[in-house]
């Protein structure tokens, strides 16, 4: 289906480097649902050295990467993209950052040796390498998504970094099953302005259409002041969501 509605510009950051754990499923979900809503999604892939004006995008996505890749991006953020991305975040661009991408938005990542790799510091979080890998199915409950009552969000986490939030920030949700940001304080992810950082992959968006729609709606409101999305048939997605909850409960840590 070709949409006739407004264009929605999606930026996939470092698709060649930060593409662990099926991250591209999130971009597929954004693009598909935008099409189903009659919008016209356009996806730009942006990698090392390119320096776009991030404020021109409606939705930006960055996934997770392996250590090596993450170091390359850390450098690219410092030298090339960091300030433009930070400006866009303050400007209210919708940004979804998962795992490694989430960590890089914060102040720093402290390795096991105590060395601190700088992040761009636009969100007041910081990450410390942990000894144990936090792996498994996750269910969280969130009240940041518009609509009646709290919503569940499902996914899979696999990280050894433990992320902590600064005083003024609230997590994306409260952990029902799994570890979340650090396995200690019961929080998962962070929402700062329109930037959502989280450890949930799985992929996250396809099984959580409420989250996808939340991001699309915020992007439309930022650009056009309104967002009217007629309901879709989400039977398949809802079934997967419910199945993921059952799976997480059957194999609770």
């Amino acid at each position: 289906m070709i949409g006739i509605g407004p264009e929605i510009k999606i930026c996939h950051l470092y698709p060649d480097l930060m593409n662990l754990y099926g991250d591209r499923g999130n971009v597929i979900a954004l693009k598909r649902r935008a099409e189903w809503y009659g919008l016209r999604p356009v996806v730009d892939e942006v990698s090392l050295e390119a320096k776009p004006d991030f404020r021109l995008y409606d939705v930006i996505f960055i996934g997770g990467g392996q250590d090596r890749e993450q170091q390359l991006i850390c450098l690219d953020f410092q030298k090339v993209k960091g300030s433009s991305l930070a400006e866009a975040v303050e400007d209210g661009v919708v940004l979804l950052a998962i795992c490694g991408g989430y960590q890089l938005l914060g102040r720093y990542y402290q390795t096991g040796d105590g060395e601190q790799l700088p992040g761009i510091g636009v969100v007041d979080v910081w990450t410390v390498a942990g000894k144990k890998r936090l792996i498994g199915n996750v269910v969280i409950e969130t009240d940041v998504i518009e609509g009646p009552g709290p919503r569940t969000v499902v996914g899979f986490e696999n990280h050894s970094g433990k992320t902590y939030l600064g005083g003024g920030l609230r997590p994306f949700g409260r952990v029902i099953n799994g570890y979340g940001n650090n396995g200690e304080d019961g929080g998962e992810g962070v929402l700062y302005r329109n930037t959502l950082g989280t450890y949930l992959h799985g992929s996250l968006l396809p099984k959580n259409p409420d989250v996808t729609d939340f991001l699309l709606r915020r992007a439309l409101v930022r650009r056009h002041g309104v967002a009217e999305l007629r309901p879709l048939d989400d039977t398949v997605e809802r079934r997967a969501h419910e199945a993921a909850i059952r799976r997480a409960r059957s194999k609770a840590h």
């Binding site: 099926g22 992959h201 992929s203 997967a240």
Partner: protein
């Protein structure tokens, strides 16, 4: 410290070790009585009683051990090597049931002994999980270590791909001075091991340019140079990130190849013919296996045969006997229906299977069974890295797709977002019911593809075996 040296001398077997062997052999019998495969439990038991048991057995092998590791193609390649060694008249001890952890290897070696603890074999052939490589090298007289490729697989078990590569590299670094490496030159991650270990390395690779493409589809395992981080430039890709590559900055490139397939021909839907160039001259081999990815397996087995001093004639004779092993596209007939089953476990392998299915002119009838148990990998995110968009492009060429297994719903979502019409998709969590449904909708003379993950495969096997012998229950 080097690996255990090969001996040939019959060892003086301590009583404790003999006892371990007896206990393990008894355990095998008992578990057979109770109808269980039990391919690793006897090994665990024996190692409890005599921790050095594998070391003691391994040194009896006059020609040492060929160890096969890597992400994809281990089982198929090891089976082909076994056929090649067999054709050369060698007696082989081989952990063939896919028990590729140290306990499975131990069990296989014990199964190959007589009651006095003597190993009745000339050479060992060990298919080895990447994480087990350092341990296996420590306990076995490995003479040849073959590394097929590295793909992302079961990330939740190994953490990250770089870690998996490092496990294999550290194993290679512990090999004895009489050992050699046999490496896939077309995989930069594999070839990198040859550069970092001071042992002689033999490289194999494809050189038939007709099969290469200029653009890589999805997998991006090794995009950046291991030497300097610059993106590699590929003159051609054969299969995912396997191809001919070079770093434009530091010049690190695909190594010179010793054993090359200069020509790969697809004889029919599921046969391969390879023209091989080697230090032992040029020769031709054939195997009844489909797909370019199997050309790598055939070539690897050929190179392993040469490394074990098998004559080219015997290599060709051995490979000619090979048919696809169970679960790797072996056709089965159920009441006139043609059933093809292929194990799926990572994006690269799944993409190849999709390519094969799209090459079949029949309408697409498909069961995809995704489990997320420990042995499958608990994280099913990799499904998003498979190009189901290509499958969806078949449009009305798709008759039906049944999704099943513990993650049937996730698979259905993936297909929907890939662009498959939802009215073509049926979710059936219960695999027996899902298979019955698919068989009901497949007429005699038609083809049905079944694509399960590892533990789902075990279930598919049970159901199919039952159907093969009993009256088909879906007609009842």
């Amino acid at each position: 410290m080097g690996g255990a040296p090969p001996g040939g001398e019959p060892p003086s077997m301590g009583l404790r070790k003999l006892l371990a062997i007896w206990i393990a052999k008894l355990a095998v019998r008992v578990s057979r009585v109770f109808g269980r495969g039990g391919s690793t439990f006897p090994g665990t038991l024996a190692r409890r009683v005599a921790p050095g048991i594998l070391l003691t057995l391994g040194v009896q092998l006059p020609r040492g051990v060929i160890l096969v590791t890597g992400t994809n193609g281990k089982t198929t390649t090891a089976r082909m090597i076994a056929a090649v060694l067999g054709a050369a008249g060698l007696r082989v001890v081989h952990n063939r049931s896919g028990a590729n952890l140290i306990t499975g290897v131990t069990a296989a070696f014990i199964a190959g002994t007589d009651w006095r603890g003597r190993l009745r074999a000339d050479i060992g052939l060990v298919e080895c999980d990447e994480a087990t490589v350092p341990r296996a090298v420590g306990e076995l007289p490995v003479r040849v270590m073959l590394v097929t490729n590295f793909f992302r697989d079961q990330l939740d078990r190994f953490g990250e791909l770089a870690h998996t590569v490092e496990l294999v590299r550290s194993g290679a670094a512990r090999l004895g001075p009489d050992a050699g490496l046999l490496l896939n030159a077309d995989d930069p991650l594999v070839a990198g091991i040859g550069r970092s270990v001071s042992l002689p390395a033999t490289y194999y690779g494809l050189e038939d340019g007709r099969h290469g493409v200029r653009e890589m589809a999805q997998s991006r395992e090794a995009k950046h140079c291991l030497g300097c981080g610059e993106p590699y430039e590929y003159s051609r890709y054969f299969y995912a990130h396997l191809g001919h590559y070079r770093c434009p900055k530091c010049g690190q490139e695909r190594p010179q190849v010793d054993v090359a397939a200069t020509r790969v021909d697809f004889v029919d839907a599921r046969g391969l013919e390879l023209a091989v160039r080697s230090p032992r001259g040029a020769f031709t081999v054939r195997a009844a296996l489909p797909g370019l990815y199997n050309a790598y397996n055939v070539l690897a087995a050929t190179a392993a045969g040469l490394a074990a001093a098998v004559e080219p004639e015997a290599i060709a004779a051995g490979l000619a006997q090979v048919t696809s092993s169970f679960g790797r596209m072996e056709p089965i007939s159920i009441s006139g229906r043609r059933i093809l089953i292929a194990l799926v476990k990572n994006p690269a392998g799944f993409n190849e299977v999709v390519r094969t299915i799209l090459g079949d002119p029949d309408p697409i009838r498909l069961v995809i069974a995704i489990n997320d148990n420990d042995a499958d990998g608990k994280d099913i995110s990799w499904l998003w890295d498979v190009d189901f968009e290509r499958l969806a492009a078949a449009g009305d060429g798709i008759d039906f797709i049944v999704t099943s297994g513990t993650r049937a719903e996730d698979m259905a979502v993936r297909l929907k977002y890939g662009g498959v019409e939802t009215n073509k998709i049926t979710v059936e969590d219960d695999l027996t019911a899902g298979l019955a449904r698919a068989l009901r909708e497949t007429a005699s003379g038609q083809t049905l593809y079944i694509l399960p993950t590892y533990t789902a495969m075990l279930e598919v096997r049970r159901v199919v075996a039952h159907l093969g012998h009993a009256r088909p229950f879906w007609q009842a």
